[in-house]
C-alpha cells in the first residue's frame, strides 16, 4: 500500500482504487493475526477492520507525520485491538505473562493450508525438469548454502536467489490460478 496513493485516493474519493488498497492490507493484517497471534477468523477480521478504520481516520486528520510509519502503525493497532478483545473475552484469566505469539512452526502450519498444498504439488509436477529439480532440492535441503547450489546447478551465486524467486513467483501464480479455477 503506497501512502501517497492512499492519501490521494482518500482525497479524490477514488473508491475503486481505495477499495483495492484497503482489501490488500486487510488480507495481510488478518493473516498476521491468525498466524502470529492465533486469532480465529472472526476476531482477525474484526480487529483488522478496526485498525484500518482508525488508521484511515488518522490519515484524514493528517495525524500521521511519517508516511512510512503508517504500516507499522496499522500492525501495532491491530495487535493492540486483538489483545484488548482477548483481554475482554477472558478477563478472569488475563496475566502479564500470557503467551502472545504462536511458535514459528505453528505459524507455518496455519499458512500452509490444505488447498494450497494440493495446488502446489500439482504446480511443481508441471515444472520443466531443471526447474523442478532446483525447487525440490531447496525443499529437501532448506539449509543449503548459495555457493553449493550454484555449483550443483551450474549457475552464479547471485543467480541462485534470483532463480529461486522467479520459480517461487511462478509457483505462486500457478497456485492462485488453480485455486480460482
Amino acid at each position: 500500500m503506497d501512502y501517497r496513493k492512499l492519501v490521494e485516493t482518500l482525497e479524490n474519493g477514488d473508491l475503486k482504487e481505495f477499495s483495492k488498497l484497503y482489501s490488500d492490507a486487510f488480507e495481510v493484517l488478518c493473516s498476521y493475526l491468525r498466524t502470529n497471534m492465533r486469532a480465529d477468523e472472526q476476531n482477525a477480521k474484526d480487529c483488522a477492520q478496526h485498525a484500518l478504520v482508525k488508521t484511515m481516520e488518522r490519515v484524514r486528520k493528517g495525524a500521521i507525520r511519517d508516511p512510512d510509519s503508517i504500516y507499522s502503525y496499522l500492525l501495532q493497532s491491530a495487535k493492540n485491538r486483538y489483545m484488548r478483545v482477548r483481554f475482554e473475552q477472558r478477563r478472569s484469566n488475563f496475566q502479564e505473562d500470557m503467551e502472545v505469539y504462536a511458535p514459528v512452526e505453528e505459524q507455518i502450519d496455519r499458512l500452509a493450508e490444505q488447498e494450497r498444498n494440493k495446488a502446489l504439488e500439482s504446480c511443481i509436477e508441471k515444472l520443466d525438469e531443471d526447474s523442478r529439480e532446483f525447487i525440490l532440492f531447496w525443499i529437501e535441503n532448506p539449509n543449503a548454502r548459495g555457493n553449493v547450489v550454484a555449483q550443483l546447478f551450474n549457475i552464479s551465486v547471485n543467480n541462485v536467489w534470483t532463480k529461486r524467486h522467479r520459480l517461487v513467483k511462478k509457483l505462486s501464480d500457478c497456485i492462485q490460478k488453480k485455486i480460482n479455477e
Binding site: M1, D2, D24, A25, E27, V28, L29, Y32, R34, N36, M37, R38, E41, Q42, Y71, L75, R86, N93, Q95, D97, M98, E99, A102, V104, E106, I108, D109, R110, L111, A112, E113, Q114, R116, N117, L120, E121, I124, E125, K126, L127, D128, E129, S131, I135, L136, W138, I139, E140, P142, N143, W161, R164, H165, V168, K169, K170, L171, S172, I175, Q176
Partner: protein, 263 residues
Amino acid sequence: MPKDTPSDVVRLIDDYLKGRLNQSQIDHLWVLLMQNPEYYPLLETQAAMKRMDVEEIRRKLENKDDDGSTDDQEPYSGFVNESKTPWVSALAAVVIIAVLLNIFRSPVETEIRPLIDEIHTTNLIAPDISRSTATEMSNFEQALYRAYLLSLSGNAKGAIAEYEQLLDYNDIKRNWVDYNLAIIYYNTGQHLNSAELFQTVDCEQLDGNVRVESCYWFMTNSFLAVNNLERARESAEIILQKGSIYQHDAIDLVRKIQYFQEK
C-alpha cells in the same frame, strides 16, 4: 523504509520460515508484506513448500514416467507445455455423451447437489491456547488442538483419527469435536458420516454470529449431499430467519427443495 528487492523479500521469508527472525523482525516482514501485498502469496507458497512431501512427488513423477507419458518441455517458461489434443478429444467425447444422455433423460433433475465442494479449514474451531500459566490445558483440549493442527496441515486422516478418539468424552467442548469432524468428513467425501454428525451439532452453542450461521449453512449442504431434503430445508429455513450472508443462497435452495417435495 528502504525498498527491498524481490530477492531480499524471498530471503527474508526464508529466514522467517527457518525460525531465524525475532518477533520484531517478523513484524517488520509483515509490515513489508502489507506495504507490498504482491509478496504475500510468496510467503504462503514458501510455507506450503515447507510442508511438502517431496518423496510423494517423486513417487508420482516416477509412476507418470512408468506410464510412458511424455510431456513436451518449454525450456524458457519453466512450465511443461502440455499437449491440448487429448483434452480437446476428451472434452468433445464428454459433450457428445452429455447430449446423447439429455435426449433420453427426463428434463427434470432428480436430486439437488450441495452448493459447496469443500469447507475451508479456517472454519474449524480450536481451543484457546494462549492462556495464563495458571490454567493448564486439559488432556481433552490438548487432543483437540493436536487434531486441529493436523487438519490445518492437510493430514485429514490423522485429524479424523484424533477427533474420533474424542467422541467418547462428555466434555463441554464436545460440540466442537462433532462440528470439526463433520467438516473434515465432508471435505474427504464421507458425506454420510458428516450428515450424521451434523445432526448432533448444536450450532447455537458455537461462538459468534458468523460461526453460528456458517454452521447452519454447512449443515444444510451436508444434508443435501446425502439427499436428506427435509433436514436440509429445516436448516436452510433457520438461515432465512437469521438473515445471514447465506440468505440469498438459502432462499433459492428452499424454493428448489419445495419444488422437489411438491413434485
